[in-house]
Symmetry: C2
Subunit: 240 residues, 2 copies
């Protein structure tokens, strides 16, 4: 048993970490680190393991996200963050799609280079306070007015934990628009394979030598396993 345990650990060369609920609890003022997590990241890096953050964070650009993490004491660079918005931009360019954005104000700069005139799709992120009745109706009207509605969602999480309590995540609003328009969203964030594969490519580590660590049994654990990785669920964040 001990032998097998050591063998299992020896084969690991890279770690993929979810961020919200694993390294910190998000919330007003940027959130707070989870006890021990700053030290854990320091020790992972010191151990020689490769480290990549694989997040569905869509409330900020990677640059400002990393600034926030560094201010909390995490030694992380922008290149160490894999997130849905850049993956969505790649997909929009590939297919000549011009998005109407229903996203957090702070995420908008990630789409600066994308043509957004005369939209032929809707991109949905965790818009938080931008999830207003008026904004949801606007996104709905654009979709229902398209000959073939295209809804791209930067994740499909049900909810997440902030310092002041649980919040509905982008997946809930995705379901609302899916139902109203009778369409199925294309999900770009976790648990979609593409995001995990991007993160592994950044690490330069094959899936069987990587472990995903997250607090979401579907997005983190299920998604990683479907890519051939092992995964661990932590009991912080949204774990209940």
């Amino acid at each position: 048993m001990a032998e097998r345990g050591r063998g299992w650990a020896r084969a690991v060369r890279g770690l993929l970490l979810d961020v919200s609920g694993v390294l910190y609890d998000s919330g007003a003022g940027g959130g707070v680190p989870i006890a021990g997590s700053v030290e854990a990241v320091r020790r992972i890096k010191a151990s020689g393991l490769k480290l990549q953050l694989c997040t569905n964070e869509t409330q900020a650009t990677r640059e400002s996200f990393v600034r926030k993490l560094r201010a909390m004491g995490f030694d992380i660079s922008v290149a160490q963050v894999t997130a849905p918005a850049p993956a969505a931009c790649h997909l929009l360019r590939e297919r000549g799609l011009r998005p109407h954005l229903l996203v957090h104000d702070d995420l908008v700069p990630e789409f600066a280079e994308i043509n957004k005139t005369n939209p032929n799709c809707v991109v949905l992120g965790d818009a938080a306070e931008n999830f207003t009745y008026a904004n949801l109706n606007e996104a709905f009207r654009l979709l229902i007015g398209m000959e073939k509605p295209v809804l791209i969602s930067l994740g499909k999480g049900r909810y997440y934990k902030e310092t002041d309590g649980l919040k509905l995540d982008v997946g809930a609003y995705m379901k609302a628009l899916e139902y109203a328009c009778d369409v199925q969203a294309e999900v770009v964030g976790k648990p979609a394979k593409r995001l995990f594969e991007s993160a592994l490519a950044e690490l330069g580590v094959p899936p069987e030598q990587a472990i995903m660590i997250g607090d979401d049994i579907v997005n983190d654990v299920g998604g990683a396993q479907q890519c051939g990785m092992r995964a661990l669920q932590v009991r912080t964040g949204k774990y209940r």
Copy 2:
């Protein structure tokens, strides 16, 4: 063919009418009657056919709803309106449920007699401007905190038409909460059988002698047919 047509019409003793999209288009300032509808209601009543409005309207009490219709010229009384909120109150009492209400301000008086302390269920109506990010999170937190979440929805419509355009209906928000909490809502409004049966009981007409007229293929036409009624879809309102 003409003979069969007359036979079909002779067997009809009662009409159930949907209201929004059939008699008027709702919107700012209360909405506007659809051309010819005031005269149509007058002629139905003059013909001796029994008439009942069967609506998923949850933005007002029946009293204020009828005031609005009368102001538009429709000769309708409160007893001629079958709506989801009274049906929901019946169900809440039956099962000892204490609701948290996420409904339109103007609907709240329908629940005046219901104990709402220490909620053990959520009742969802077309809350319109009350569908804020904060209110949705609050309803979600209450539900997810219940040992067995109970979500009662006053309808499951996808969208409806107001004078300033299409709006997401209660069904979209129902789907958001269903997904986030992994529960299935109990729908009290159309197309649920109970509402049609109440309307038929008011008319005192069996289903095979009644016709439902509406603009929604699922809520109006499908729901009525499941109760053994015939149904007609008008090409006004949300018809596309």
